[in-house]
Symmetry: C2
Subunit: 205 residues, 2 copies
DNA sequence: GTGCTAATGTGGACGCTGTCTACATGGCTA
DNA sequence: TAGCCATGTAGACAGCGTCCACATTAGCAC
């Protein structure tokens, strides 16, 4: 029941990997109940440690949530990259379009499979770390690369490239959000899949 | 400072319009701090009333949040409808495209002008009121109408109509979410406007 | 090995939150 | 005028984030 990294099994005074344990606990609750349910006290309780121990590793609750959110983003980027790797190189213009569709489908696939993690990955409170237009966000880097392939393969003209990230990302992020948290949640599966196809094909025909 | 509907000015035992006062207070905090900050106790405090009085009008905190969210959706739909009315009928295929662009821009305009209300309008916890594929959601009705005009004006073929809601809505909702809560928040205004143009034109060229 | 220091975890407290139960008030209708 | 029922109050409990002072111990200098 207790994993090696989970609770403080030996009841040693020092946990050893408390930060990871807290993030792990946060990931579990975020997965099941969404970002709003991530709590410092619950995480410390799961780790078998006193509530205030968390403040040695996180400035406040938002700091923990940020760490959990980063993990969610990583997992999301990992799935998209995995799906792209499975699809293979797929040369030529049609292959580039195919890879864009694959990336978009993987994005929505993650959101539907793990709605709690998806929401958490984008749960940024109200602060503004002055990260530039391109986050150090893996997902953005993947998207940029796939879109660049559209140009290099001749699928789109170079002058159509600037700003294409916004269109592609907005479309998949929008349908993913509407289907998981938004007004289109629990749409019948067949209609849901049709909607996803419609959006993906509108962006990458 | 105190509005007529705000606090219990006369200190009467019965407030008279407590439900509206609580929703009003919730709207104020949602506007400034987002849906997560909407609280029963704070709302009752603002209304000059005891905490438990709220339970005579709302089942729990989520119930209040739902009421506030409904108001946010109304305001959003009202802005979109206003912008459409300002644009006028605009007959013909090009007019129909123009009206779709106008609706999309108004959607994003609201999200950027009132990010707290925008987020709140889509803050539905985890329950599933079995509302059909079409919500009784005003926004959806407006979108359906504008898209139907695309067909009736000959701008698009009838067979291209089914599912067009998903594409249009996903695009504007996605860019609005990314720009307000997501990874594209506080993008420089010029680049932000360019991104909006890019998305709108991709959907309604 | 011995002893100091800094990192890490504990205990207690405060005010905030939602929510339960029992009780008080008074507007409206008979 | 009498009483019912909607509405508001009072008090309590658990859970939350966060501050403070204190305890423990890992790791390093000697």
């Amino acid at each position: 029941m207790s994993t090696s990294i989970g609770e403080n099994t030996g009841k040693r005074y020092h946990h050893g990997h408390l930060r990871e344990a807290l993030v792990q606990a946060g990931l579990a609750t975020a997965r099941a109940e969404g970002p709003g349910a991530v709590a410092l006290r619950a995480a410390t309780r799961a780790a078998g440690v006193s509530p205030n121990a968390a403040y040695r590793h996180f400035a406040d609750r938002d700091d923990l949530l940020q760490a959990v959110a980063a993990c969610c983003q990583e997992r999301m980027a990992a799935l998209v990259q995995t799906r792209l790797d499975e699809a293979g190189p797929l040369p030529g213009p049609e292959g580039a379009w195919q890879r864009l569709r694959t990336a978009g489908r993987a994005y929505v696939e993650f959101a539907l499979a793990e709605p709690g993690w998806f929401a958490t990955g984008f749960a940024i409170p109200l602060d503004m770390p002055p990260d530039g237009p391109t986050d150090d966000f893996d997902l953005f880097a993947i998207l940029v690369k796939v879109l660049d392939e559209l140009v290099s393969s001749g699928a789109i003209a170079p002058e159509a490239r600037p700003g294409a990230e916004y269109v592609a990302w907005a479309a998949v992020h929008g349908i993913a959000t509407l289907l998981t948290e938004g007004s289109l949640r629990n749409l019948p599966p067949t209609e849901r899949d049709a909607a996803i196809d419609r959006v993906i094909n509108a962006v990458a025909f």
